[in-house]
Amino acid sequence: MAAMSADAARKRRPRITRRRVMENVTGYLFISPWIVGFLVFTAYPMLISIYYSLTSYNVLRPPEWIGLENYHELFFEDDRFLTTLFNTAYYVAFSVPLGLVLGFLVALLLNQKIPFMPFWRTVYYLPAVTPIIASSVLWIWVLEPNFGLLNRALALVGIDGPGWLTSPAWSKPALIIMSLWGVGGGMIIYLAGLQGIPQQLYEAAAVDGANSWHKFWHITIPMMSPVLFFNLIIGIIASFQTFTQAYVMTGGGPVDSTMFYVLYLWLNAFDYFRMGYASAMAWVLFIIILVITLLTFRVIAPRVYYEFGSERG
């Protein structure tokens, strides 16, 4: 590729025509909304927030330089910071892999010869289109300890359900269960991937005498690995920023057991008006997510199978 483009460039260079210039100008004009948007709402904010993170700033008065004090407080003095990190990690560690596996399982089930497939797909997908605020309210009621659907169902099988959102031990599992209710979002993507696996691969494997398990392990999984991997990354990034459920359903409680990172960041920014401190928190979050994403790439990407496409009809 590199050689080719260099070659192409050599050929093009003398032909800096008026038309080429115009096309360049037009091109940049067309993408200018994105350029402006990126500069104003992504690049500049990220840079300026480094500066804010080194100040004490309540918006009403000008920011005051305090050096690394915010970071020092965050790492060495604020025990809530560690609590929120733990809560968030707990949530991510369970909801992301469980959601991935469950969504994939549903997709596998749906990928068989089943009557009314679109109907089932719709059913599983509905929670994913429900506004998060509405599903949060719905789940407050489902998880209600005395009359909630979940505890009523548990009572039917003789289990005295916990207090869910009122119990520090069960509040995080409750939110994880709620997140699993929405696995339909991933399921649709897996289903699409599964249906795109060329049948010839399975047929060839069958000729070689492979059983279902072999076919699953040596064809389905490798063929699906890019999709699974992509969803893993996106899932991690999204789950690290969980906010609405905790804000609406628990407010971070009981005793900070659902105080997630972004909720605490929000609290610092818009309740205590400590914009500097919140900016420092944002940067720490950014680094954490970056490191975890890179690690995931390092560990998992080599196992992802990318050789497909030869069978496209």
Partner: protein, 485 residues
């Protein structure tokens, strides 16, 4: 790199197919989408038609002045769209009507200074965002103990000159109320109301059990609370005494003779024997109720308003505010309720009754022009000092006037059989110590601190020590910033 291009090709493939199918289906899809829009609009319209409220008086919500969320309704209660002044912080519940009436009267008398009153949820947060965003309201009703914080961060105007120019007698208010609006010798607001707290008890249940008068000491109430508590399996069906419920979370320290802050409000002062004794006592109470999860689960069964837990007997004894009298009058006059002094430890009973007070003030935000500020000032004077609006709130919503003479006015005292009791308690009232970090200190550190003990996350000593250390850090930061600004 080859897989990159391959993948792109696949996407083209999909997109191509989308296009083929899509183009063919467009008309039908457009019809369906159109039908969706039409039906949903029609649905909304007909629902609205069917459901539109007849009047504006069916609102609800207990107007509590002490809790963090004095969550009023999100509606405009009075004033036209082109009113000169915008007032944030109108209340709902029983307070809605008197506020509406008084503002409508003002608007009629002052066509050039009309006020539009809005109810704002999470007003503290929203107010700072609004000032920060340079779009403040012209008038704001704020919880007084948070005024120093607002004043120091430059969110509200210094009203001292106006008070002096108009020769307003600052002594007409309960002195502590006026004091709460003061910082470094300057006034930042006019007190609007006050409140205090007492032991509310359901006398029907007590007298049925042969109890003649409510408990006076903390030992007694702990024991009696246990006797009156009822359970079905693990679940509560009745709370005899809820020591941490109602509205007294920060009162016990005072009841035990403690002081929350020391050194001119620079240092926390509860990690000591006093703190230990009331917190252990409170822990006892929570234990026999079955722990916080059980209590919270029970709390979820409470209904609002007319079916509130005090009237239904779901809670027999609890410390709560004078404003409850207004709800009682509106929803539960048939229920035999009583109010007594807060219980105190045996050795403190001789020192007399104790209560704590809060209340709201009217302030003028920074960032509005002089013309509006002048008009806002005129309205605030009317709203906080004129007998009509103050007594309307007092008689209809159980809001104790912050002006002593009006609190002792017969119209208020005779409006509700509990009012006299609460006014008589006022001389024994404690007020939250003023700091620049009131919100964080009282609501995020002190108020929830016992929870760590109830949930078994920390011992009493640990909880006191940790929260005190944290409070000292926050106080330190707050005062440092205050001196700098």
């Amino acid at each position: 790199m080859s897989h990159e291009t391959d993948k792109q090709n696949e996407i083209y493939e999909l997109v191509r197919e989308m296009r083929r199918e899509g183009c063919r289906m467009t008309r039908r899809d457009v019809l369906r989408l159109g039908a969706f829009a039409g039906i949903s609009l029609a649905g909304i319209a007909s629902l609205v038609e069917a459901c539109a409220p007849a009047g504006g008086n069916q609102s609800s919500g207990v107007g509590s002045s002490g809790g963090k969320k004095s969550g009023p309704q999100p509606t405009k209660i009075a004033g036209g769209e082109n009113a000169l002044l915008t007032y944030w912080g109108a209340w709902g519940g029983t307070a809605l009507q008197p506020e509406k009436q008084s503002i409508e009267k003002w608007n009629k008398d002052h066509p050039d200074m009309q006020v539009k009153a809005l109810q704002i949820a999470d007003i503290d947060q929203k107010f700072l965002v609004a000032v920060a965003g340079r779009r403040p309201p012209d008038i704001i009703k704020l919880d007084r103990f948070m005024l120093p914080g607002y004043a120091l961060s430059g969110a509200i105007k210094d009203l001292t000159d106006r008070i002096n120019a108009d020769k307003i007698d600052v002594k007409q208010w309960f002195s502590a109320c006026m004091n709460e609006t003061k910082l470094n010798g300057k006034y930042y607001g006019l007190p609007w109301n006050t409140d205090d707290r007492g032991l509310w008890y359901n006398n029907e249940i007590l007298s049925k059990a042969g109890v003649k008068e409510p408990p006076k000491t903390t030992d007694e109430i702990l024991r009696m609370g246990k006797e009156f508590t009822q359970k079905k399996g693990k679940r509560l069906t009745r709370i005899g005494f809820d020591g941490y419920g109602g509205n007294w979370q920060i009162g016990w320290h005072w009841a035990w003779g403690g002081e929350w802050l020391k050194d001119n409000n620079r240092k926390a002062n509860w990690n000591n024997e006093i703190g230990e004794s009331w917190l252990s006592w409170l822990q006892e109470n929570r234990k026999y109720l079955g722990g916080p999860s059980t209590i919270d689960a029970f709390g979820k069964t409470f209904q609002g308003e007319s079916q509130g837990p005090y009237w239904t007997g779901q809670i027999v004894m609890v410390m709560d505010g004078s404003w409850v009298a207004g709800d009682w009058k509106k929803y539960a006059q048939k229920v035999d309720m009583g109010v007594a002094d807060a219980p105190r430890p045996q050795d403190m009973v001789d020192k007399g009754p104790i209560t704590w007070s809060g209340g709201f003030a009217f302030c003028i935000p920074e960032g509005i022009d002089d013309k509006k500020a002048d008009a806002a000032w005129e309205f605030i004077k009317y709203y906080c000092m004129d007998a009509d609006p103050v007594l309307a709130m007092a008689t209809q919503a159980g809001n104790m006037p912050a002006i002593e003479k009006l609190a002792r006015d017969d119209r208020y005292l005779s409006a509700n059989k509990f009012n006299k009791k609460f006014v008589d308690l006022m001389p024994h009232s404690r007020f939250r110590d003023l700091t620049p970090v009131g919100n964080e200190l009282w609501f995020d550190i002190i108020w929830p601190m016992p929870n760590d003990v109830f949930y078994g996350k920390k011992t009493v000593k640990q909880a006191l020590a940790d929260s005190e250390a944290k409070a000292n850090k926050v106080l330190d930061r707050g005062w440092k910033e205050a001196e700098r600004g």
